[in-house]
Subunit: 331 residues, 2 copies
């Protein structure tokens, strides 16, 4: 029996590119419809779809799209502050969700998503966030090394996310539409800690952040520092900022260091190094595996997916709790 997966897209903010990148390798997927999910034009979505041979129907109202098309899965990249509502609307219709992170900007909204998910048939309806780094070659390689025990028992995970600020759209300037730098940029770092640290929940989180010197970007925090302890007592740290200078060779300075009882594995500048008691070497990279490809294969064939609903909820919870902690410290 040939399996098919009907896909609809909501919005083009953030990483909907993960979907487009995967489509050529997923003949089972039919991209049936798109909606901006806001007052914005759906034109970028249509153009990208057409470039891959699809002619999706275009809806102004994403709810009408969900009801009319009844897709199996929907990509949610609408306005950040609508992620939570869009997730709930999809889940309530039994539609699986591939949502930009963070999936909610407030803890109450996260609770509503979880409640909607809990009413789903979980064998059929899934939700994950776009933690696409998990599929990138250096991070997959580092995780593989950790999982194979090459660093022994993990003790500490240190991470860095440093971005170029560039020119940001207006919705980055207000907490209500942006959510904060810890959830937006930091979510990747917190996910590395959670994932590399053994997929254990966050026991305690602490954070500070600061909006000063943000070059007219309103509420946007330029810097943040995060520390945590996971339930398995792994310690984690994240340094998060928009201070990467224009002349830097890449947009982001993404770093992860996993230190264990037998060794240290480190991702830096796209390379992975491993030092143990007996050797220090660069690891050969595993091939990249796109996160939407992974999720679609999971939905189609039950293949393992690099992330699941529980990890998605826990990561979102930690991001929002850390941001709220940083807010209180500032007062």
């Amino acid at each position: 029996m040939e399996r098919k997966l009907k896909l609809a897209l909501i919005g083009a903010r953030g990483h909907v590119g993960y979907v487009f990148k995967a489509l050529p390798d997923l003949p089972e997927v039919d991209l049936c419809a798109v909606s901006s999910g806001s007052g914005e034009s759906a034109e970028p979505l249509v153009k990208n779809a057409e470039a891959r041979g699809f002619s999706p129907r275009v809806f102004d109202d994403y709810l009408a799209m969900l009801d009319a098309e009844k897709p199996d899965v929907v990509s949610v990249c609408g306005p950040f502050e609508l992620h939570a509502k869009m997730c709930c609307e999809a889940l309530e219709r039994g539609i699986s969700v591939f949502c930009e992170k963070p999936i909610a900007l407030e803890l109450g909204d996260l609770d509503r998503i979880r409640a909607a998910y809990d009413r789903c048939d979980k064998e059929k309806t899934k939700i994950i966030s776009m933690v696409g780094y998990r599929g990138e070659a250096p991070f997959r390689t580092a995780y593989d090394a950790v999982k194979r025990g090459l660093v022994g028992k993990v003790k500490m995970v240190n991470t860095r996310k440093s971005y170029k600020l560039g020119v940001r759209p207006d919705y980055y300037h207000a907490r209500a539409t942006y959510g904060g730098t810890i959830p937006w940029v930091g979510s990747h770092a917190l996910d590395w800690i959670y994932w590399m640290g053994g997929n254990a929940n966050f026991k305690t989180v602490q954070a500070i952040h600061d909006t000063a010197d943000n070059r007219g970007n309103g509420d946007l925090e330029m810097t943040a520092l995060f520390t945590c302890v996971l339930e398995n007592n792994v310690m984690g740290s994240a340094s998060i900022d928009y201070l990467r200078p224009a002349a830097a060779p890449t947009h982001g300075d993404d770093q992860v260091r996993v230190a264990g009882t037998l060794g240290v594995v480190e991702v830096m500048h796209g390379k992975v190094t491993l030092i143990t008691e007996t050797e220090a070497k660069e690891l050969e990279l595993l091939p990249e595996r796109g996160i939407f490809y992974d999720f679609a294969r999971h939905l189609l064939y039950g293949e393992p997916c690099v992330v699941d609903a529980e990890a998605t909820f826990e990561l979102t919870r930690a991001c929002l709790a850390a941001r709220d902690c940083a807010d209180r410290n500032r007062i």
Copy 2:
């Protein structure tokens, strides 16, 4: 008029090597006497002194040495838990002090040192701790870049201290004689934050630490994470551990990153890189300048010294406050 500086040494734990290294370049210094300051043998001190052409008197009792020899300056590298008392005894005799860090293991002892210092003629009697990194080529070079404004206004200082554990003497195994990993290893990192962050005092500090998996080393913490905000709102972070694997090329993985409004300067693997809005490059290293050489020239000729009493007290205060904070979190 030829100036002379009479020097005595107490103890050989820690970085008394800074003194021996500087002696060939300091013909003004007369190393007159040594004492272990504990039940240990003074033999290592004598041998090192003789190798540099000195024949110091040897005292079992360091107080008798201070009273009999009346040195101008004393190096304090005795048992860690006696640093504070040794500093006080020297200061009360008007003797300048070059003390292993941390100069005290408890905040009350630090207060006693400050009180003794406050009774001194501060033009004549000085005290600094052995923050020798400040004189090392990469750190001097990075500081120079920051001071020249190449990164603009400093926003964040991230630091790493990772050491090989190796085999540690017994006094590392008990809090009472070791003081803790944040003061012992972390003091370097906290000093980088304070120094590179603009020599501003610590406004808030947070820390966690953990003794688990310490391979039989008693109270010794294997891992610690530290975050702070300085009075000038610079954020600082430190990752501190003994997890550096045996096969690593160096004993310590020492890293500093200073991120500002115009650029980022970074010390890693002994090299210094600078990225600004217009260029990314490696900086040519300034020459090393030994900290005891610096201090001796300061005492002899009033030349500027890379560190002073106020910085020493503030650094010690931050280390002990962070350790005590981490202790409370653990409970």
